[in-house]
């Protein structure tokens, strides 16, 4: 035994020398936030390097005679001939509960003037995604509070669901609504004191957006009381491309902390089109060979390695989850572009937003035909599944029939009924910004639709009627909604209560 301790002691002694060993180089050229460095022969890929004046960078291109480093921060403080040093560290960012409520930049520095961040842990920004063994299939819902999505394109915890559409079609709004809904659910859950309640924390990564847009988003989160559960990572358009390239990985590292600590988190990447453009810019400056649309060859890997890090872990691995809502902006509805097809193939489904619908006032402008969730329905609440099961088919049939019926003068009764129902469902799904609806209320509304309570109301008044019913469910009809929430299923008794409540509402509405 004493031999062994002696052995270990010796090992420690041999370690504890105070001399440091670093590897250095000199900047040979410096342009567009990228430094070419001579030397640094022992630098690792993705290692942090240190320039003078407290500027840091990352080694991205390891070539035979030189190294290409992207500069993080102010490159104007550097000049050719400056010495560069390896650090032996991979880039990492602060993580943990202390990050909540904060706005940080791509390397985790606070930019919200709320003082230093209370965090004692750091995670590397690049990490290999969890393998197959610790993963579990998606089986818990992540409710967006948006009726059209929760009913037809349900999202589960650990899923990666793409939000895709042209510019200004309400992509960001859907993501922010979802974040606000999580905050609302968290607050109710925490108040209920339920020990099994699992809050969902959110991370919003803004890439290449205008500062004014980011400020507006943060304000919306604050005004809706969501900021306490949110981390915002901002790499605005005016930031150098290196920061824009890093921001999603930094946000993902913060999300991974929740994942690995048995908690649930949601991450929004807004948006990955701009992320790909930032990466293209860096790659062109680094003189990497470019391919289609001048993107480098590994642009697929850029997003696959990011999105693969979202997962639902099994019980043995702590039961945590990281759900991702990446956003992609298309040009004139073209989903067959290079970056859109790449990301579509990596994700578990997409929410496709159409400009046409948006302009017609059908908002959120979710396209029924092109949107899909490949795994989410396994996670829907039973009661909700019961009432929403048919709605996607009904709506799809409606769109088809509506196109046909333009040529048809007299329609048979069944077709007419389908058209009537479809038109009312479209109206029911219209929903304003930042007003997510709890799933139990959605259940009540959809149940009323399924059970013909809206049929006698004129189509033009459906939106108002739905609003009024939602209102009713949060006042006089509170009890039945609470029962649906607690039971999670529509039993005979609850259905009776529901019928009575909706009849009561209808009398007052008419």
């Amino acid at each position: 035994m004493s031999n062994i301790t002696e052995l270990i002691k010796k090992e420690i002694e041999s370690l504890s020398t105070d001399a440091t060993r670093t590897n250095i180089g000199r900047i040979t050229t410096l342009a567009d936030g990228v430094a070419r460095v001579d030397g640094l022969s022992k630098v690792m890929f993705n290692e942090m390097v240190e320039f003078p004046n407290n500027v840091s960078g990352i080694a991205l291109n390891l070539e035979e005679e030189s190294v290409g480093c992207v500069v993080l921060g102010d490159a104007s403080r550097l000049k050719e001939g400056d010495e560069v040093q390896t650090t032996g560290r991979l880039l990492s960012v602060p993580v943990g509960m202390g990050m909540l409520g904060r706005v940080v930049d791509a390397i985790g520095n606070p930019i919200d003037e709320k003082g230093p961040i209370d965090s004692s842990e750091n995670y590397p920004v690049e990490r290999i995604a969890p393998g197959i063994i610790p993963r579990q299939s998606v089986d818990q819902p992540l409710q967006t509070g948006i009726m059209a999505i929760d009913s037809m394109i349900p999202v589960g915890r650990g899923q990666r669901e793409l939000i895709i559409g042209d510019r200004s079609t309400g992509k960001t709004t859907i993501a922010i609504d979802t974040i606000i809904n999580q905050a609302k659910i968290n607050k109710l859950g925490e108040e209920s004191g339920d020990p099994d309640f699992r809050p969902v924390y959110s991370i919003y990564v803004a890439i290449g957006q205008k500062n004014s847009n980011i400020a507006r988003t943060i304000k919306a989160l604050e005004d809706n009381g969501a900021m306490d559960y949110v981390i915002v990572v901002a790499a605005p358009a005016a930031d150098n491309p290196a920061n824009q390239y890093l921001a999603p990985y930094a946000g993902c590292a913060m999300g991974e902390w929740f994942l690995r600590n048995g908690k649930d988190a949601l991450i929004v990447y807004d948006d990955l089109s701009k992320h790909a453009v930032a990466y293209r810019q860096i790659s062109l400056i680094l003189k990497r060979p470019s391919g289609r649309e001048a993107f480098p060859g590994d642009v697929f890997y850029l997003h696959s390695r990011l999105l693969e890090r979202s997962a639902r872990l099994n019980k043995d691995s702590g039961n945590g989850s990281l759900t991702a809502l990446p956003i992609i902006e298309t040009q004139m509805g073209d989903v067959a572009g290079y970056i859109p097809t790449n990301v579509i193939s990596i994700t578990d489904g997409q929410i496709f937003l159409e400009t046409d619908l948006f302009n017609k006032g059908i908002r959120p402008a979710v396209s029924v035909g092109l949107s899909v969730s490949r795994v989410g329905s396994a996670a829907q609440v039973k009661a909700y599944k019961k009432v929403s099961g048919k709605v996607k088919l009904q709506l799809a049939q409606f769109r088809e029939l509506a196109a046909f019926s333009q040529f048809e003068s007299d329609l048979d009764a069944a077709t007419k009924a389908q058209l009537d129902r479809g038109a009312r469902i479209v109206e029911m799904f219209k929903q304003g910004v930042y007003s997510p609806v709890p799933v139990s209320v959605q259940t009540g509304v959809m149940w009323a639709m399924e059970n013909n309570f809206f049929d006698s109301i004129d189509v033009s008044r459906i939106t108002a009627a739905v609003e009024s019913l939602k209102e009713y469910f949060s006042s006089s009809g509170k009890e039945v909604v609470q029962k649906i929430h607690e039971e999670g299923n529509l039993t005979k008794g609850i259905e009776e209560d529901l019928r009575r409540a909706v009849e009561d509402w209808k009398r007052s509405f008419a």
């Binding site: 670093t22 250095i24 180089g25 407290n54 040093q85």
Partner: protein, 132 residues
């Protein structure tokens, strides 16, 4: 003009021609290479010479340890440093001594792009960074 990979390859070959068995550059061999190049000038003559020079500078700095110190180390410790470095790099390493009072106390050894440092100023650096 930027050098094509082929020119780079040739310049490296030229360097290899000037090394002896222990990997050191030999002056006579360098002269020989220069003469041959002069006798058969190519379109890339100047560029090739430039690259050859870069390699030569790099190569010679690989065999040289620049030892900066504040407080001169003893001759015996310099000798043992030389032996240790030569062992580590698998080639004969010459030592060049330079006084550098910025170190405050201690020693800093630079071999090509490796730096070994044990000095007062290097220990103060993290402190300085944490404070500002």
């Amino acid at each position: 003009m930027t050098a094509s990979p082929r020119i780079r390859e040739i310049s490296k070959k030229l360097l290899r021609l000037t090394l002896d068995e222990e990997g050191r550059m030999v002056e006579a061999k360098v002269c020989e290479v220069l003469e041959t190049l002069r006798a058969n000038p190519s379109r890339y003559h100047k560029l090739l010479l430039q690259l050859f020079l870069d390699h030569a500078i790099r190569e010679s700095s690989k065999g040289l340890a620049i030892v900066e110190f504040a407080g001169k180390p003893s001759d015996s410790s310099i000798e043992s440093l030389k032996i240790e470095l030569s062992r580590q790099y698998g080639r004969n390493i010459d030592v060049e001594m330079r006084e550098n009072l910025d170190l405050i106390a201690g020693i800093r050894v630079k071999v090509f792009d490796d730096v070994y440092e044990d000095s007062a100023s290097s220990r103060l650096r993290p402190l300085e960074r944490a404070l500002c």
